[in-house]
Amino acid sequence: MQSNGGWKGGGMGRAGPGMRGVVGYKPGDSGVSVVVLSLLAFCSPSSTLFFFWFFPSPPSSHAPSGVGTLPRQSPVRFAASVHFLGGSSNRSQKTMLRVLALASVVLLGIAPQASQAITVYTSWERHALVGSDVRLSCTFFSWRFISDDVSFTWRYRADGSRDTVSIAHYAGGEAYTDNKGVFKDRVEFVGNPKRRDGSILIKNLDFSDNGTFTCDAKNPPDIVGRPSSVRLLVFENLPIQAGVITGAIIGVVLGLLVLIVVIYYLMRFLVARRVFSLNVSKHGKKKKEGSQQRQGPAPPADPSKMKAAASEKKKQESRKDKK
Protein backbone atom coordinates (compact mmCIF):
# COMPACT_ATOMS: atom_id res chain seq x y z
CA MET A 1 0.00 0.00 0.00
CA GLN A 2 1.69 3.15 -1.17
CA SER A 3 1.08 6.37 0.66
CA ASN A 4 -0.20 8.80 -1.93
CA GLY A 5 1.50 12.08 -2.73
CA GLY A 6 -1.93 13.63 -2.82
CA TRP A 7 -2.36 13.09 0.86
CA LYS A 8 0.72 15.11 1.59
CA GLY A 9 -0.70 18.05 -0.30
CA GLY A 10 -3.97 17.81 1.48
CA GLY A 11 -2.29 17.34 4.79
CA MET A 12 -0.65 20.73 4.80
CA GLY A 13 -1.55 22.75 7.84
CA ARG A 14 -2.63 19.77 9.87
CA ALA A 15 -0.92 18.69 12.99
CA GLY A 16 -0.58 14.97 12.40
CA PRO A 17 0.98 13.15 9.52
CA GLY A 18 -2.14 11.10 8.93
CA MET A 19 -1.78 7.60 7.53
CA ARG A 20 1.48 8.27 5.80
CA GLY A 21 3.18 5.35 7.45
CA VAL A 22 0.98 2.69 5.94
CA VAL A 23 3.71 1.84 3.46
CA GLY A 24 4.86 -1.64 4.14
CA TYR A 25 1.57 -3.19 5.17
CA LYS A 26 1.51 -6.84 4.16
CA PRO A 27 -1.84 -8.56 4.31
CA GLY A 28 -0.23 -11.82 5.22
CA ASP A 29 1.19 -10.57 8.49
CA SER A 30 -1.81 -9.62 10.49
CA GLY A 31 -0.31 -9.33 13.96
CA VAL A 32 2.59 -7.08 13.07
CA SER A 33 0.56 -5.08 10.61
CA VAL A 34 -2.09 -4.46 13.18
CA VAL A 35 0.56 -3.20 15.59
CA VAL A 36 1.94 -0.89 12.96
CA LEU A 37 -1.48 0.33 11.93
CA SER A 38 -2.56 0.97 15.45
CA LEU A 39 0.58 2.88 16.31
CA LEU A 40 0.32 5.04 13.24
CA ALA A 41 -3.39 5.59 13.33
CA PHE A 42 -2.90 6.82 16.84
CA CYS A 43 -1.17 9.82 15.36
CA SER A 44 -4.23 10.86 13.41
CA PRO A 45 -6.91 12.89 15.18
CA SER A 46 -9.55 10.32 14.42
CA SER A 47 -7.91 7.68 16.53
CA THR A 48 -11.08 7.34 18.60
CA LEU A 49 -12.74 5.78 15.58
CA PHE A 50 -10.02 3.19 15.67
CA PHE A 51 -10.94 2.26 19.18
CA PHE A 52 -14.49 1.42 18.17
CA TRP A 53 -13.33 -0.73 15.32
CA PHE A 54 -10.98 -2.80 17.38
CA PHE A 55 -12.57 -3.20 20.74
CA PRO A 56 -15.31 -5.55 19.55
CA SER A 57 -12.66 -7.84 18.04
CA PRO A 58 -12.22 -11.35 19.46
CA PRO A 59 -9.52 -11.59 22.09
CA SER A 60 -9.31 -15.38 21.88
CA SER A 61 -10.45 -18.27 19.77
CA HIS A 62 -13.80 -18.97 21.42
CA ALA A 63 -15.73 -15.97 20.11
CA PRO A 64 -16.24 -16.35 16.34
CA SER A 65 -18.87 -13.65 16.00
CA GLY A 66 -16.47 -10.88 16.57
CA VAL A 67 -17.82 -9.68 19.85
CA GLY A 68 -15.71 -10.68 22.82
CA THR A 69 -15.20 -9.77 26.42
CA LEU A 70 -12.12 -7.97 27.48
CA PRO A 71 -10.14 -9.87 30.10
CA ARG A 72 -10.08 -8.23 33.50
CA GLN A 73 -6.37 -8.11 34.08
CA SER A 74 -5.43 -5.93 31.12
CA PRO A 75 -6.59 -2.33 31.15
CA VAL A 76 -8.76 -0.92 28.44
CA ARG A 77 -6.00 0.62 26.43
CA PHE A 78 -4.68 0.82 22.96
CA ALA A 79 -1.76 -1.50 23.45
CA ALA A 80 -4.01 -4.03 25.13
CA SER A 81 -6.33 -4.22 22.16
CA VAL A 82 -3.32 -4.87 19.98
CA HIS A 83 -2.15 -7.56 22.36
CA PHE A 84 -5.44 -9.42 21.98
CA LEU A 85 -5.33 -9.36 18.26
CA GLY A 86 -1.81 -10.64 18.09
CA GLY A 87 -2.77 -13.73 19.97
CA SER A 88 -5.71 -14.95 17.86
CA SER A 89 -4.96 -17.92 15.69
CA ASN A 90 -8.27 -18.78 14.05
CA ARG A 91 -8.16 -18.29 10.30
CA SER A 92 -11.61 -16.76 9.91
CA GLN A 93 -10.80 -14.35 12.67
CA LYS A 94 -7.60 -13.44 10.91
CA THR A 95 -9.36 -12.63 7.69
CA MET A 96 -11.96 -10.65 9.57
CA LEU A 97 -9.18 -8.77 11.30
CA ARG A 98 -7.65 -7.95 7.96
CA VAL A 99 -10.96 -6.75 6.61
CA LEU A 100 -11.46 -4.61 9.69
CA ALA A 101 -7.97 -3.20 9.44
CA LEU A 102 -8.34 -2.39 5.77
CA ALA A 103 -11.76 -0.85 6.27
CA SER A 104 -10.55 1.29 9.15
CA VAL A 105 -7.52 2.37 7.18
CA VAL A 106 -9.66 3.27 4.21
CA LEU A 107 -12.14 5.15 6.32
CA LEU A 108 -9.46 6.90 8.32
CA GLY A 109 -7.64 7.70 5.16
CA ILE A 110 -10.50 9.20 3.25
CA ALA A 111 -12.93 10.42 5.87
CA PRO A 112 -10.78 13.04 7.56
CA GLN A 113 -9.14 14.05 4.30
CA ALA A 114 -12.43 14.79 2.62
CA SER A 115 -13.01 17.58 5.07
CA GLN A 116 -9.62 19.10 4.29
CA ALA A 117 -9.38 22.69 3.29
CA ILE A 118 -8.60 23.87 -0.17
CA THR A 119 -4.96 24.89 -0.49
CA VAL A 120 -3.92 27.70 -2.76
CA TYR A 121 -0.45 27.95 -4.25
CA THR A 122 1.28 30.97 -5.69
CA SER A 123 4.91 31.96 -6.09
CA TRP A 124 6.61 33.57 -3.14
CA GLU A 125 8.15 36.52 -4.91
CA ARG A 126 8.37 37.76 -8.46
CA HIS A 127 10.91 40.10 -9.95
CA ALA A 128 10.15 42.06 -13.08
CA LEU A 129 11.48 44.94 -15.13
CA VAL A 130 9.75 48.27 -15.56
CA GLY A 131 7.54 48.28 -18.59
CA SER A 132 7.43 44.53 -18.97
CA ASP A 133 4.59 42.10 -18.39
CA VAL A 134 4.48 39.63 -15.57
CA ARG A 135 2.30 36.57 -15.20
CA LEU A 136 1.28 35.79 -11.64
CA SER A 137 0.32 32.16 -11.30
CA CYS A 138 -2.20 30.75 -8.87
CA THR A 139 -3.27 27.14 -8.55
CA PHE A 140 -5.08 25.24 -5.90
CA PHE A 141 -5.55 21.72 -4.65
CA SER A 142 -8.96 20.44 -3.64
CA TRP A 143 -10.34 17.02 -2.86
CA ARG A 144 -13.51 17.72 -4.73
CA PHE A 145 -14.00 17.71 -8.44
CA ILE A 146 -13.77 21.09 -10.09
CA SER A 147 -17.26 22.46 -9.95
CA ASP A 148 -18.74 24.96 -12.38
CA ASP A 149 -18.84 27.54 -9.62
CA VAL A 150 -15.10 27.62 -9.12
CA SER A 151 -13.97 31.16 -8.40
CA PHE A 152 -10.70 33.06 -8.23
CA THR A 153 -10.18 36.45 -6.64
CA TRP A 154 -7.07 38.53 -6.92
CA ARG A 155 -6.44 41.36 -4.49
CA TYR A 156 -3.67 43.91 -4.44
CA ARG A 157 -2.09 45.73 -1.54
CA ALA A 158 0.53 48.32 -2.40
CA ASP A 159 3.78 48.44 -0.46
CA GLY A 160 3.32 50.59 2.58
CA SER A 161 -0.43 50.79 2.21
CA ARG A 162 -3.04 49.16 4.37
CA ASP A 163 -5.83 48.97 1.84
CA THR A 164 -6.55 45.95 -0.26
CA VAL A 165 -8.37 46.29 -3.54
CA SER A 166 -9.75 43.61 -5.78
CA ILE A 167 -8.31 43.64 -9.23
CA ALA A 168 -9.53 40.45 -10.85
CA HIS A 169 -12.35 38.04 -10.25
CA TYR A 170 -13.43 34.92 -12.02
CA ALA A 171 -16.81 33.39 -11.19
CA GLY A 172 -19.51 31.50 -12.98
CA GLY A 173 -17.40 31.05 -16.07
CA GLU A 174 -16.77 34.77 -16.51
CA ALA A 175 -13.65 36.79 -15.79
CA TYR A 176 -13.92 40.32 -14.46
CA THR A 177 -10.94 42.62 -14.27
CA ASP A 178 -10.21 46.03 -12.88
CA ASN A 179 -11.87 48.77 -14.92
CA LYS A 180 -11.70 51.67 -12.50
CA GLY A 181 -8.56 51.57 -10.42
CA VAL A 182 -4.82 51.57 -10.84
CA PHE A 183 -4.81 48.45 -12.94
CA LYS A 184 -7.40 49.60 -15.41
CA ASP A 185 -6.97 47.81 -18.72
CA ARG A 186 -3.71 46.31 -17.51
CA VAL A 187 -4.95 43.11 -15.98
CA GLU A 188 -5.97 40.10 -17.95
CA PHE A 189 -7.18 36.78 -16.68
CA VAL A 190 -5.14 34.14 -18.50
CA GLY A 191 -5.76 31.11 -16.39
CA ASN A 192 -7.75 27.97 -17.14
CA PRO A 193 -10.05 27.39 -14.20
CA LYS A 194 -11.04 23.96 -15.42
CA ARG A 195 -7.39 23.01 -14.99
CA ARG A 196 -7.13 24.69 -11.59
CA ASP A 197 -5.16 27.57 -13.01
CA GLY A 198 -6.17 31.06 -12.04
CA SER A 199 -3.25 33.13 -13.31
CA ILE A 200 -3.41 36.76 -14.29
CA LEU A 201 -1.22 38.80 -16.56
CA ILE A 202 -0.26 42.35 -15.59
CA LYS A 203 1.03 44.48 -18.41
CA ASN A 204 3.26 47.53 -18.57
CA LEU A 205 4.59 47.48 -15.04
CA ASP A 206 5.51 50.57 -13.15
CA PHE A 207 7.30 51.22 -9.89
CA SER A 208 4.00 51.88 -8.19
CA ASP A 209 3.01 48.26 -8.79
CA ASN A 210 5.33 47.08 -6.06
CA GLY A 211 3.19 45.24 -3.58
CA THR A 212 1.51 42.04 -2.52
CA PHE A 213 -0.96 40.22 -4.72
CA THR A 214 -3.25 37.76 -2.97
CA CYS A 215 -5.05 34.96 -4.73
CA ASP A 216 -8.09 33.34 -3.20
CA ALA A 217 -9.59 30.30 -4.86
CA LYS A 218 -12.86 28.63 -3.99
CA ASN A 219 -14.21 25.36 -5.26
CA PRO A 220 -17.73 24.94 -3.91
CA PRO A 221 -18.50 23.10 -1.67
CA ASP A 222 -14.84 23.19 -0.73
CA ILE A 223 -14.55 26.80 0.31
CA VAL A 224 -12.51 26.78 3.49
CA GLY A 225 -9.00 27.81 2.59
CA ARG A 226 -6.28 30.32 3.16
CA PRO A 227 -5.42 32.72 0.37
CA SER A 228 -1.86 32.77 -0.82
CA SER A 229 0.21 35.87 -1.59
CA VAL A 230 2.92 36.69 -4.05
CA ARG A 231 5.15 39.70 -3.68
CA LEU A 232 5.96 41.68 -6.78
CA LEU A 233 9.19 43.65 -7.04
CA VAL A 234 9.75 45.93 -9.98
CA PHE A 235 13.29 46.84 -10.92
CA GLU A 236 14.86 49.13 -13.43
CA ASN A 237 17.46 46.56 -14.28
CA LEU A 238 17.39 43.13 -12.82
CA PRO A 239 20.03 42.79 -10.13
CA ILE A 240 22.22 39.75 -10.05
CA GLN A 241 21.43 37.78 -6.96
CA ALA A 242 23.97 37.67 -4.23
CA GLY A 243 26.53 34.99 -4.66
CA VAL A 244 25.93 34.25 -8.33
CA ILE A 245 29.22 35.70 -9.45
CA THR A 246 31.09 34.04 -6.64
CA GLY A 247 29.47 30.73 -7.41
CA ALA A 248 30.23 31.18 -11.08
CA ILE A 249 33.92 31.74 -10.40
CA ILE A 250 34.10 28.70 -8.15
CA GLY A 251 32.24 26.59 -10.67
CA VAL A 252 34.49 27.64 -13.52
CA VAL A 253 37.65 26.85 -11.62
CA LEU A 254 36.38 23.47 -10.48
CA GLY A 255 35.22 22.74 -14.00
CA LEU A 256 38.69 23.54 -15.30
CA LEU A 257 40.13 21.21 -12.71
CA VAL A 258 37.85 18.38 -13.76
CA LEU A 259 38.64 19.08 -17.39
CA ILE A 260 42.37 18.96 -16.76
CA VAL A 261 42.06 15.68 -14.91
CA VAL A 262 39.97 14.14 -17.67
CA ILE A 263 42.34 15.31 -20.38
CA TYR A 264 45.30 14.02 -18.41
CA TYR A 265 43.87 10.55 -18.07
CA LEU A 266 42.74 10.56 -21.67
CA MET A 267 46.21 11.49 -22.87
CA ARG A 268 47.74 8.79 -20.73
CA PHE A 269 45.35 6.25 -22.12
CA LEU A 270 45.94 7.30 -25.71
CA VAL A 271 49.70 7.41 -25.32
CA ALA A 272 49.67 3.96 -23.78
CA ARG A 273 47.73 2.60 -26.71
CA ARG A 274 49.94 4.33 -29.22
CA VAL A 275 53.10 3.04 -27.65
CA PHE A 276 51.55 -0.41 -27.56
CA SER A 277 50.78 -0.38 -31.27
CA LEU A 278 54.23 1.06 -32.06
CA ASN A 279 55.85 -1.91 -30.38
CA VAL A 280 53.71 -4.23 -32.51
CA SER A 281 54.77 -2.61 -35.79
CA LYS A 282 58.46 -2.43 -34.82
CA HIS A 283 59.13 -6.01 -33.78
CA GLY A 284 58.01 -8.27 -36.64
CA LYS A 285 56.02 -11.51 -36.60
CA LYS A 286 56.76 -13.06 -33.23
CA LYS A 287 55.69 -9.94 -31.44
CA LYS A 288 52.56 -9.86 -33.58
CA GLU A 289 51.58 -13.35 -32.57
CA GLY A 290 52.13 -12.48 -28.96
CA SER A 291 50.10 -9.30 -29.29
CA GLN A 292 47.27 -11.08 -31.09
CA GLN A 293 47.04 -13.56 -28.28
CA ARG A 294 46.83 -10.63 -25.89
CA GLN A 295 44.28 -8.73 -27.90
CA GLY A 296 41.80 -11.57 -27.47
CA PRO A 297 40.99 -10.91 -23.84
CA ALA A 298 41.64 -7.24 -24.42
CA PRO A 299 38.32 -5.38 -23.90
CA PRO A 300 38.10 -4.99 -20.13
CA ALA A 301 36.60 -2.02 -18.24
CA ASP A 302 38.17 1.38 -18.72
CA PRO A 303 40.15 1.94 -15.50
CA SER A 304 41.84 -1.39 -15.93
CA LYS A 305 42.57 -0.80 -19.61
CA MET A 306 45.51 1.42 -18.82
CA LYS A 307 46.79 -1.06 -16.32
CA ALA A 308 46.40 -3.82 -18.88
CA ALA A 309 48.25 -1.77 -21.45
CA ALA A 310 50.97 -0.94 -18.95
CA SER A 311 51.28 -4.56 -17.88
CA GLU A 312 51.38 -5.65 -21.49
CA LYS A 313 54.16 -3.18 -22.08
CA LYS A 314 56.02 -4.62 -19.14
CA LYS A 315 55.49 -8.16 -20.35
CA GLN A 316 56.83 -7.27 -23.75
CA GLU A 317 59.82 -5.61 -22.18
CA SER A 318 60.49 -8.65 -20.04
CA ARG A 319 60.21 -10.79 -23.14
CA LYS A 320 62.73 -8.56 -24.85
CA ASP A 321 65.01 -8.90 -21.87
CA LYS A 322 64.72 -12.68 -21.95
CA LYS A 323 65.51 -12.81 -25.65
Binding site: I245, T246, I249, I250
Partner: protein
Protein backbone atom coordinates in the same frame (compact mmCIF):
# COMPACT_ATOMS: atom_id res chain seq x y z
CA UNK B 1 55.22 6.33 10.04
CA UNK B 2 55.85 9.39 12.15
CA UNK B 3 56.45 11.45 9.06
CA UNK B 4 53.11 10.34 7.67
CA UNK B 5 51.28 11.29 10.83
CA UNK B 6 53.02 14.64 10.96
CA UNK B 7 52.15 15.30 7.32
CA UNK B 8 48.50 14.45 7.85
CA UNK B 9 48.34 16.59 10.96
CA UNK B 10 49.86 19.49 9.08
CA UNK B 11 47.43 19.09 6.23
CA UNK B 12 44.41 18.79 8.49
CA UNK B 13 45.54 21.80 10.50
CA UNK B 14 45.76 23.78 7.28
CA UNK B 15 42.26 22.70 6.32
CA UNK B 16 40.87 23.68 9.70
CA UNK B 17 42.53 27.07 9.58
CA UNK B 18 41.24 27.68 6.09
CA UNK B 19 37.71 26.75 7.08
CA UNK B 20 37.75 28.92 10.16
CA UNK B 21 39.15 31.83 8.19
CA UNK B 22 36.45 31.52 5.54
CA UNK B 23 33.51 30.86 7.80
CA UNK B 24 34.14 32.81 10.98
CA UNK B 25 33.17 36.41 10.76
CA UNK B 26 36.20 38.31 11.99
CA UNK B 27 38.32 39.66 9.15
CA UNK B 28 37.99 43.23 10.29
CA UNK B 29 36.95 44.17 13.79
CA UNK B 30 36.07 47.50 15.34
CA UNK B 31 34.51 48.20 18.69
CA UNK B 32 30.99 47.86 17.31
CA UNK B 33 31.33 45.81 14.17
CA UNK B 34 32.78 42.51 13.16
CA UNK B 35 32.90 41.85 9.48
CA UNK B 36 34.23 39.54 6.85
CA UNK B 37 33.56 38.96 3.20
CA UNK B 38 30.09 37.54 3.68
CA UNK B 39 28.30 39.80 6.14
CA UNK B 40 28.70 42.25 8.92
CA UNK B 41 27.76 41.97 12.55
CA UNK B 42 26.91 45.29 14.12
CA UNK B 43 26.47 45.89 17.80
CA UNK B 44 23.37 48.05 18.19
CA UNK B 45 22.38 48.64 21.78
CA UNK B 46 23.80 45.48 23.35
CA UNK B 47 22.60 43.24 20.57
CA UNK B 48 24.53 41.91 17.63
CA UNK B 49 22.67 42.07 14.34
CA UNK B 50 23.75 40.53 11.11
CA UNK B 51 23.53 43.07 8.34
CA UNK B 52 24.53 43.16 4.72
CA UNK B 53 27.90 44.44 3.71
CA UNK B 54 27.98 48.17 3.04
CA UNK B 55 27.31 49.16 -0.52
CA UNK B 56 30.60 51.00 -0.71
CA UNK B 57 32.55 47.79 -0.93
CA UNK B 58 34.21 47.22 -4.30
CA UNK B 59 31.92 44.56 -5.73
CA UNK B 60 34.22 42.65 -8.01
CA UNK B 61 37.03 42.46 -5.49
CA UNK B 62 34.57 41.18 -2.94
CA UNK B 63 33.45 38.42 -5.27
CA UNK B 64 37.05 37.56 -6.01
CA UNK B 65 37.91 37.26 -2.33
CA UNK B 66 34.85 35.15 -1.64
CA UNK B 67 35.47 32.82 -4.54
CA UNK B 68 39.16 32.33 -3.93
CA UNK B 69 38.71 31.75 -0.20
CA UNK B 70 36.12 29.06 -0.85
CA UNK B 71 38.24 27.54 -3.60
CA UNK B 72 41.22 27.36 -1.27
CA UNK B 73 39.16 25.36 1.20
CA UNK B 74 37.89 23.06 -1.53
CA UNK B 75 41.33 22.40 -2.97
CA UNK B 76 42.81 21.71 0.41
CA UNK B 77 40.08 19.23 1.29
CA UNK B 78 40.37 17.47 -2.06
CA UNK B 79 44.12 17.46 -1.56
CA UNK B 80 43.71 15.55 1.68
CA UNK B 81 41.76 12.81 -0.06
CA UNK B 82 44.21 12.75 -2.94
CA UNK B 83 47.06 12.40 -0.47
CA UNK B 84 45.40 9.45 1.23
CA UNK B 85 44.75 7.85 -2.17
CA UNK B 86 48.33 8.40 -3.22
CA UNK B 87 49.56 6.76 -0.05
CA UNK B 88 48.07 3.52 -1.30
CA UNK B 89 48.41 3.76 -5.05
CA UNK B 90 51.72 5.51 -5.57
CA UNK B 91 54.67 3.35 -6.54
CA UNK B 92 57.59 3.36 -4.13
CA UNK B 93 60.18 5.96 -4.79
CA UNK B 94 57.80 8.47 -6.36
CA UNK B 95 56.90 11.86 -5.07
CA UNK B 96 53.47 13.00 -3.98
CA UNK B 97 53.25 15.48 -6.79
CA UNK B 98 49.49 15.63 -7.23
CA UNK B 99 48.83 16.27 -3.54
CA UNK B 100 51.50 18.89 -3.68
CA UNK B 101 49.80 20.48 -6.66
CA UNK B 102 46.50 20.68 -4.81
CA UNK B 103 48.12 22.18 -1.76
CA UNK B 104 50.03 24.74 -3.76
CA UNK B 105 46.83 25.73 -5.52
CA UNK B 106 45.10 26.12 -2.16
CA UNK B 107 48.04 28.21 -1.01
CA UNK B 108 47.82 30.35 -4.13
CA UNK B 109 44.10 30.96 -3.75
CA UNK B 110 44.20 31.89 -0.10
CA UNK B 111 47.12 34.17 -0.86
CA UNK B 112 45.05 35.89 -3.53
CA UNK B 113 42.11 36.24 -1.17
CA UNK B 114 44.09 37.61 1.73
CA UNK B 115 46.13 39.93 -0.48
CA UNK B 116 43.12 41.47 -2.17
CA UNK B 117 41.48 41.94 1.19
CA UNK B 118 44.56 43.59 2.63
CA UNK B 119 45.04 45.86 -0.31
CA UNK B 120 41.56 46.92 -1.26
CA UNK B 121 39.38 46.80 1.82
CA UNK B 122 39.43 49.05 4.84
CA UNK B 123 42.34 51.05 3.45
CA UNK B 124 41.33 54.24 5.21
CA UNK B 125 39.96 52.77 8.40
CA UNK B 126 43.11 51.66 10.13
CA UNK B 127 42.62 54.12 12.93
CA UNK B 128 39.19 52.82 13.81
CA UNK B 129 39.65 49.11 13.81
CA UNK B 130 42.03 46.27 13.30
CA UNK B 131 42.23 42.95 11.57
CA UNK B 132 40.39 40.11 13.26
CA UNK B 133 41.48 36.57 13.96
CA UNK B 134 40.05 35.08 10.76
CA UNK B 135 42.25 37.33 8.70
CA UNK B 136 45.33 36.31 10.67
CA UNK B 137 44.35 32.65 10.36
CA UNK B 138 44.06 33.08 6.63
CA UNK B 139 47.66 34.20 6.41
CA UNK B 140 48.82 31.43 8.73
CA UNK B 141 46.94 28.95 6.57
CA UNK B 142 48.80 30.35 3.60
CA UNK B 143 52.08 29.57 5.30
CA UNK B 144 50.99 26.10 6.37
CA UNK B 145 49.73 25.12 2.94
CA UNK B 146 52.94 26.40 1.40
CA UNK B 147 55.07 24.30 3.73
CA UNK B 148 52.79 21.33 3.18
CA UNK B 149 53.05 21.55 -0.57
CA UNK B 150 56.85 21.87 -0.46
CA UNK B 151 56.99 18.75 1.69
CA UNK B 152 54.79 16.87 -0.76
CA UNK B 153 56.96 17.90 -3.66
CA UNK B 154 60.14 16.81 -1.95
CA UNK B 155 59.13 13.69 -0.06
CA UNK B 156 59.49 10.33 -1.67
CA UNK B 157 57.40 7.34 -0.86
CA UNK B 158 59.27 4.53 0.76
Amino acid sequence: MLVLVALSVLHIAAIILLLVATIDNAWWVTSTTSTDVWGRWMLTGNKWNLTDLPAGYPEDYLHAVQATAVLACIFSIIGLFVFITQLFTLANGNRFTISGVFQILACLFIMIAASIYTDRFHVNEHSIGNYGHSFILAWIAFALTFISSIVYFVLRKK
